[in-house]
């Protein structure tokens, strides 16, 4: 027995009760709840019989009740083979099966890039062209593609989303942003009578996209769900011709030294390199058509800035295009003969950003060679402001209920992006 005297043993027991371990240092979670008088008493020390080596003590364990004269049984500590998920601790990162030494920079749906569009263009080896491509704009201006009373319908949609759809006087952005996007898509879908191939599309949500690529010896990954996505049975036709694609060889990507191109991305060592479009094999709608990204938080600091939203749109569209290209043409890096086109629309309920991305090459490690192309139409207002209650000054209505500064051009572009590929 290490401590022969009873007082020393009691002192040790008191230390243990106070939360201090055997060496006197407090153990983790050392505070013990409960009034001292209500705490459970510590177990009595084992009988002196156990100190004699080679002797088998006779205990009352088999009798299932106390028997004076027999030794108190000492049971092995109970080992629960299952921990509830609430109390499970994760193993240290080094022991995770997917741990790799090389760090990977992951872009997920809440990543805000510091340099915005410039950084996204460098990461995806893309050349920016301001404004939507001619093909798409011609769809917008073609009067055959217009819906009857288009402006009236769009105004009704704005009224419905901003004022009518809820019993509150002034609905919040979290409710009106998805309502307005859904209603605009429903309005675009009404063209199905004129273009029956619009029926070969389906909407999907919460699909987990995952693609990885090398960019000048840094590994970059896009991972996560981007919200609602429109998938089609037929791929989008390429927009830029072969000559324009060849001409991008001369374009030099803009760098932003001293800012590292991976700033804003999440660095992690536990990742999976396999590509995943978010859908299994055999999915009847394999080609991603348009991604709809909504910024619907009520508070302004929680929403992305327009520049950061455009960067997110570029990266997610690129991720979808790259996963699709690797699925169709294999994993080796090359210039694609049949470029992959993906569109994206980002909005916060009032301001729209339109994007068309054409993936020309999967050779992204070097800075030279053919670049990908992206056409961006940024900061398209659908309306300037919406008055939910009339503004009354000196008993005269100065501003009636409704939107101010309505721009029908924005919906025409939205419709054009929707009809692209089906007309």
């Amino acid at each position: 027995m290490a401590l022969a005297s009873r007082s020393a043993r009691l002192a040790l027991a008191r230390l243990g009760r106070l939360g201090l371990g055997s060496c006197g240092a407090p153990r983790r979670g050392a505070y013990e709840w409960g009034v001292r008088s209500t705490r459970k008493p510590e177990p009595p020390p084992p009988d002196r019989v156990y100190e004699i080596p080679g002797l088998e003590p006779i205990t009352y364990a088999g009798k299932m009740h106390f028997m004076p004269g027999l030794a108190r049984p000492v049971f092995p500590p109970w080992d629960p083979d299952w921990t509830p998920p609430k109390f499970r601790r994760l193993p240290p990162l080094h022991e995770h099966p997917l741990y790799k030494d090389q760090a990977c920079y992951v872009f997920h749906q809440r990543c805000r890039l510091l340099e915005g569009v410039k950084q996204a263009l460098w990461l995806t080896k893309t050349k920016l062209i301001e404004g939507l491509p001619e093909k798409v704009l011609s769809l917008a201006d073609d009067p055959r593609n217009h819906i009857e009373n288009q402006d009236e319908c769009v105004l009704n949609v704005i009224f419905h989303a901003r004022l009518w759809h809820s019993t509150e006087d002034i609905p919040k952005r979290e409710t009106y942003c998805p309502v307005i996007v859904d209603s605009l898509i429903q309005l675009c879908k009404s063209q199905i009578l004129k273009h029956p191939s619009l029926a070969r599309r389906i909407c999907a949500q919460n699909n987990m996209l995952s693609t990885t690529w090398n960019r000048e010896s840094t590994l970059i990954q896009v991972h996560g769900s981007s919200g609602a996505q429109l998938n089609a049975k037929d791929p989008l036709p390429p927009i830029a011709s072969q000559e324009e694609v060849e001409a991008t060889k001369n374009h030099v990507l803009e760098t932003f030294y001293p800012i590292s191109p991976t700033v804003g991305l999440q660095e992690c060592n536990v990742y999976d390199v396999n590509d995943d479009t978010g859908f299994r094999e055999g999915y009847p709608y394999p080609y991603p058509h348009t991604l709809y990204l909504l910024e619907s938080a009520n508070l302004r600091p929680h929403r992305f800035q327009p520049d950061q939203l455009r960067a997110k749109m570029i990266l997610f569209a690129f991720g979808n295009a790259l996963a699709q290209a690797r699925l169709l043409y294999g994993n080796d890096t090359k210039v694609l003969e049949q470029p992959v086109v993906v569109q994206s629309v980002g909005t916060d309920g009032r301001v729209f950003q339109f994007l068309v991305l054409q993936l020309n090459t999967t050779d992204l490690a070097s800075d030279e060679g053919v670049k990908n192309l992206v056409w961006i139409d940024s900061d398209q207002l659908l309306y300037e402001h919406f008055w939910c209650l009339p503004v009354v000054r000196r008993k005269a209505v100065v501003e009636p209920v409704g939107p101010t500064g309505f721009q029908p051009e924005t919906f025409r572009k939205f419709l054009a992006l929707y009809l692209h590929g089906a007309v």
Binding site: C153, N156, F159, H160, L163, W164, H165, S166, T167, D182, S183, Q186, K189, S190, I192, L193, P196, L198, A199, I202, C203, A204, Q205, N206, N207, M208, S225, D276, G278, F279, R280, G282, Y283, P284, Y285
Partner: protein
Amino acid sequence: MAAARCWRLVLRGSGLSLHTAAEAAVKAPEVTGPDVAAAPVARYPPVVASLTADSKAARQRRVERWQATVHAAKSVDEKLRILTKMQFMKYVVYPQTFALNADRWYQSFTKTVFLSGLPPPPPARPDTEPAPALDVVALRDAACDCLLQEHFFLRRKKRVPLYLEHEAITSPFLDQLVASLTGLLSARNPALANAALDCKRPVHFYWLRGEEIISHGHRKGRVDALRYQINDKPHNQIRISKQLPEFVPLDYSVPVEIPVMNCKPDKLPLFKRQYENTIFIGTKTADPHCYGHTQFHLLPDKLKRERLLKQNCADQIEVVFRANAIASLFAWTGAQAMYQGFWSEADVTRPFVSQGVITDGKYFSFFCYQLNTLALTAQADQNNPRKNICWGTQSPSCGM
């Protein structure tokens, strides 16, 4: 002096109609002097009950004065405001309920007759050309695609556990199904192409039906109307701008009787609460898409088939579907009628028709509802032969 007396009389005249009636009676013979007097003009003011006395006649007169303000309201918003501004304790009716035999109770609350099967098809008009053949194969493919996408093809972040399957898988599947089928069928039905599609928008309705004697409180012993409120949230609903045509004429008499319950609604169980009285179809009154087409409801996990079978309530499976349909569709059609200005004293002049599809993800039931009357209060229902009609199918016939 006389002028001052006249001035005081005129100022108080707005409240006391006796004096204004007297002045009108005095002035009338001078106005109609040259014309032949058609009816003899009374020389004395009309004998009416008092307004402020503590008597049944006075209460009746006050009620009529309130009803006159509703009739005289200029806009529908104002009318709804007057009807719903006073808050009292009311029964909160839940369309999706576990209560036993709730469909019979809801039929008595809403004066609805339930007929099995679907309503008779409209007579084919000879002048219109026959509709194009329905492409059932394409519709079936679209439905299968939606089902497979949610249940199989879509790779989600984490594997969805069983208790979350309902909201994470079945709910987006129903959204997709409604969207795809609406798109595909809009070729045959142009109204669907211009329809508005709502996802999980609230529908509210407030109505009065029947009377009770107040059992305790400072108004003990007096007669009080029973008030009900439905706050529903259909999973999807389609709203159109033109009303659906009626299934049967407005005064169609159905031989089936409405179940009469002999106990108070508290026995259902139904509980009383006092909060805002709202009437809402999914949008406010200014929306041009103010008529309903179809509602889609998803039954929660709590009312699923396996659970009811485990509780030995196999006969309640159909009851759950029917109760949901009757309550939700009555609330929706009633709110649509009130948006057009009808209420219990101004009964509907044309029937309001809506449809409903109720599902638990695997089994579908189809319902059609025709609202023929909104006059459900004790006063308006005295000589009202009209009944609301609900047609419905059984659920096991359409399992997915």
